[in-house]
């Protein structure tokens, strides 16, 4: 993670990171349990393909939340940005290539829609970043407010109804299976992961973001441009959310203002589970990616038990989130002991 270490040192550091190790162990146990009790679906390729289609939706949002949390903020507006930009993309696609139009219209329509959604995502993120960095409103309030704002825009555009009838070429590209096996959604997620890894470990920006999250005052006193750094971070989060919106558009073949409404909590849960310090300054990409996979496997596993209805899901997610936070608190040096010795 740090810019000063050699590759081998970094591998050792990664292996030593307790949170990453814990997540790897949890994932391994989950997979063993899965293989043991649901062997038929475990060995089926389609099980894994449907997971790889699903998790990029919230995984991409979680990556955005991770970046904002590393600088000591949070982004609760990711779902709203994804829906708003997805709806915008759908509207543009339909206006250039309405149902029944010439198939040759589809390519410019898709290109325009993708370009629009990425730009709109960046602008939405910029707006968040501006309010946080320049007006100095706590990130949790800003993004809670813009969550409502962006959702509101989405509701007004759609009148609350889903938009469908997209050109079939869109899902043929964004829901394709590369080589007949690898879903396009997974490829997009992987691309974003590579971009973030590159930013955080190979550029000056990464180092600056970690420092900004560690101590914003010292960052200011060291001459870092904290406003620009913050705005850029929220912009990245907005762009990743827009990509998530494109993935959702491909998965559902439609756009609606209230898709993925459980993803806000899920994205925060993933980032905390991944070992990112909510106070900023630390967190590993590897942890977050592992946490995304752990939660997807857990969710798919739950799906194979018909007795456990979907109603249990918030309960399980909320429980896991609190458990992880409590555990992280315990694993800080001395905290575990204090938990028992402190009596009045």
């Amino acid at each position: 993670m740090s810019v000063f270490s050699t590759a081998s040192v970094r591998m050792r550091a990664l292996a030593k990171d307790p949170q990453v190790t814990r997540l790897a162990v949890i994932l391994a146990l989950l997979l063993i349990f899965f293989a043991a009790v649901r062997t038929p679906s475990f060995v089926r390729l389609s099980t894994w393909q449907s997971m790889a289609v699903q998790f990029p939706e919230f995984g991409l949002m979680a990556l955005g939340v991770m970046l904002t949390m590393i600088i000591g903020g949070i982004d609760l507006s990711v779902v709203a940005i994804a829906n708003m930009t997805g709806i915008g993309a759908a509207v543009i696609m339909l206006s250039i290539a309405p149902p029944g139009s010439d198939p040759s219209q589809a390519v410019p329509a898709i290109l325009a829609a993708v370009a629009f959604s990425l730009v709109a995502g960046a602008l939405a993120g910029m707006f968040n970043g501006f309010l946080v960095a320049k007006i100095k409103i706590p990130a949790i309030l800003v993004t809670l407010g813009t969550f409502e704002l962006f959702t509101g825009i989405a509701v007004i555009i759609t009148q609350g109804k889903p938009i469908s009838g997209l050109p079939t070429q869109y899902s043929e590209v964004f829901a394709a299976k590369l080589g007949g096996i690898v879903p396009m959604q997974l490829v997009m997620f992987a691309l974003v992961v590579v971009v973030i890894w590159f930013l955080m470990s190979r550029t000056a920006l990464g180092t600056k973001l970690y420092l900004l999250g560690t101590n914003p005052t010292a960052a200011e006193f060291s001459g870092l441009n904290t406003v620009s750094l913050t705005v850029r971070t929220y912009m990245l989060s907005g762009i990743f959310s827009a990509v998530a919106g494109l993935v959702m558009l491909a998965n559902y073949n439609s756009a609606k203002a209230d898709y993925g409404s459980t993803y806000t909590l899920l994205a925060v849960l993933i980032v905390v589970l991944g070992g990112v310090n909510p106070n900023g300054g630390s967190g590993r990409l590897a942890g977050t990616v592992l946490a995304v996979i752990v939660l997807q496997v857990l969710s798919s596993l739950l799906n194979t038990f018909p007795d456990i209805s979907n109603f249990y899901r918030p309960l399980i997610y909320g429980g896991v989130l609190l458990l992880v936070i409590v555990m992280n608190q315990w694993y800080k040096p001395g905290n575990f002991a204090r938990f028992f010795t402190r009596k009045g």
């Binding site: 740090s2 810019v3 000063f4 270490s5 040192v9 190979r202 550029t203 000056a204 180092t207 600056k208 970690y210 420092l211 560690t214 101590n215 005052t217 010292a218 960052a219 200011e220 006193f221 060291s222 001459g223 870092l224 441009n225 300054g281 630390s282």
Partner: protein
């Protein structure tokens, strides 16, 4: 009659470092005692042991004839030990009345508030020291001296036998110091002992009856005031012979690199004029609240100025913010390195090179890791930062080494003017003299340096010129070679309103 407090052979280590090593201290009833030592000598740890905050690893504490093996804060208070910290631990948003009465109300486990009873309690408390104050005033609006009296009144409420005061006169004017001393003497009459904690001889010299001096966690001397003079005091404190060394700026060093003309910021300072040339070390000294920190922040673009102008290399500039000051070649080592200077959990390397990281890119715009590594190592070697690996987090370092990291960060920007606010606060003696040497060397190489400090010996030994600030104004410009610490202290504490005969 037995002593009121007897600390016998107390030791305490933190993570293997001896903060206290076999320290003993006795205080008689009604005695005014001074515990002296440099920053980091173990003074605060000893106070925390006496007040029950830290349990000692060895030794005993005897209060009023009762020996305590494991003293808790509650037990210490019940035994009559009260500590008044430098921040006074008052609630600024509450009134004097509430500050005084709430503790006893809480201690009595009262669930409902009876304002009449609380007022009576508060009135009794201030009457004990003849303290004339509006009980309904918010404590945050009081002067520092008044806040201190509130803290003293509160301490006396709980039948105190020993009052410990941490650097009590640092921010007071001479008149306020006199008023405080009258109260202390009055307490003495009533058999209440006082323990001053100080790192300056002049602070409480005239009133103290006994001095215990500790150094590096050991008690090195227990003396009466007539057995001490400046030289011996500073020898006990530092372990070095007192040698008044001075720094001299080169005679002709060209035009001014930094100049302030009638500089003023509302509510902080006004009419500040000075000019600084290459190779000079300018000292700015003054008490807490004299405007010295605000002036430093203004020169670094972190605080807006309302009046006057700043000239850099004889050209007027407007500093729109910290980044603009840095562009103009100004560096600033902040007052509080922990909150303003360092990224504690990050590596020493990252901390040292952050200000120059944009110059360490490969042609493709990526970080040149070889370069960052060698640069980090270079700073560790150059400033003799004691660490096995620049990859280690900064919070693994001692105060002195942390301060070197902050210095490294600024030297990396190759500033023309380096402003240091309290460069050696909380730094061990060895590092302190190293840092002084570094600063003098930088000046000899042509850098213009400003040291802002209330450590008088630091200012006198290292600066080629000293400005004294008092109440937001520069009241004197001195040549340190012809100035004693006592004269400097008097100028800092001088109360303007006193001379004019103005009553507060």
């Amino acid at each position: 009659m037995t002593d009121l407090l007897a600390v016998r052979n107390v030791s305490k280590s933190f993570a293997g470092v001896h903060a206290l090593d076999d320290v003993s201290l006795t205080i008689g009833r009604g005695e005014i005692h001074c515990l002296a030592g440099e920053n980091g000598s173990g003074k605060s740890t000893l106070i925390k042991v006496i007040s029950g905050v830290h349990a000692p690893d060895g030794g005993t504490i005897e209060i009023d004839g009762t020996s305590h093996k494991r003293l808790t804060p509650m037990a210490a208070i019940n035994a009559g030990v009260q500590v008044i910290y430098q921040d006074f631990s008052v609630f600024p948003n509450l009134s004097v009345l509430e500050n005084l009465a709430l503790t006893s109300e809480l201690a009595a486990h009262r669930k409902l508030i009876n304002w009449r009873r609380m007022r009576r309690i508060a009135e009794e408390a201030v009457a004990k020291i003849d303290f004339d104050i509006d009980l309904d005033e918010k404590v945050g609006r009081l002067s520092i001296a008044e806040k201190q009296l509130v803290a003293i009144s509160r301490a006396l409420m709980s039948d105190a036998k020993l009052i410990i005061m941490d650097e009590p006169t640092t921010a007071l004017t001479t008149r306020e110091v006199d008023a405080l001393f009258r109260i202390i003497l009055d307490l003495k009459e009533r058999g209440i002992s006082t323990l001053f904690v100080s790192h300056k001889l002049e602070e409480v010299f005239e009133i103290s009856e006994k001095f215990t001096i500790i150094r590096n966690g050991r008690s090195v001397a227990t003396k009466r005031p007539d057995e001490l003079d400046r030289a011996s005091f500073s020898f006990y404190m530092t372990g070095r012979e007192f040698e008044p060394a001075h720094f001299n700026a080169p005679a002709d060093s060209g035009p001014a690199v930094l100049e302030a003309r009638n500089l003023g910021a509302d509510g902080a300072f006004a009419d500040v004029n000075f000019s600084l040339r290459r190779g000079e070390i300018l000292g700015i000294t003054g008490r807490l609240g004299s405007g010295r920190t605000e002036l430093a922040l203004s020169l670094f673009g972190a605080l807006k100025v309302n009046h006057g102008e700043i000239l850099i290399k004889e050209k007027p500039v407007v500093l729109r913010g910290i980044r603009s000051a840095i562009k103009h070649g100004i560096g600033y080592v902040p007052e509080d390195r922990l909150t303003e200077g360092l990224f504690l959990e990050r590596s020493i390397g990252a901390n040292a090179i952050i200000s120059e990281i944009d110059n360490m890119l490969t042609p493709l715009g990526l970080l040149d890791r070889e370069k960052t590594r060698t640069e980090a190592q270079r700073w560790v070697d150059e400033l003799k930062i004691a660490t096995p690996d620049p990859e280690n987090a900064v919070n693994t370092l001692s105060g002195g080494n942390q301060q070197r990291v902050v210095l490294a960060k600024w030297l990396a920007t190759e500033p023309e003017v380096l402003i240091l606010n309290g460069p050696t606060v909380g730094v061990d003696i060895g590092s302190k003299s190293d840092i002084h040497t570094i600063l003098q060397d930088l000046a000899r190489e042509g850098m213009a340096v400003i040291i802002i400090s209330d450590d008088l010996s630091e200012v006198i030994e290292n600066c080629s010129r000293v400005l004294v600030m008092n109440d937001g104004r520069i009241v004197a410009e001195l040549d340190p070679e012809e100035t004693s610490e006592a004269e400097l202290a008097a100028l800092m504490a001088h109360d303007e309103s006193e001379e004019a005969g103005v009553q507060r």
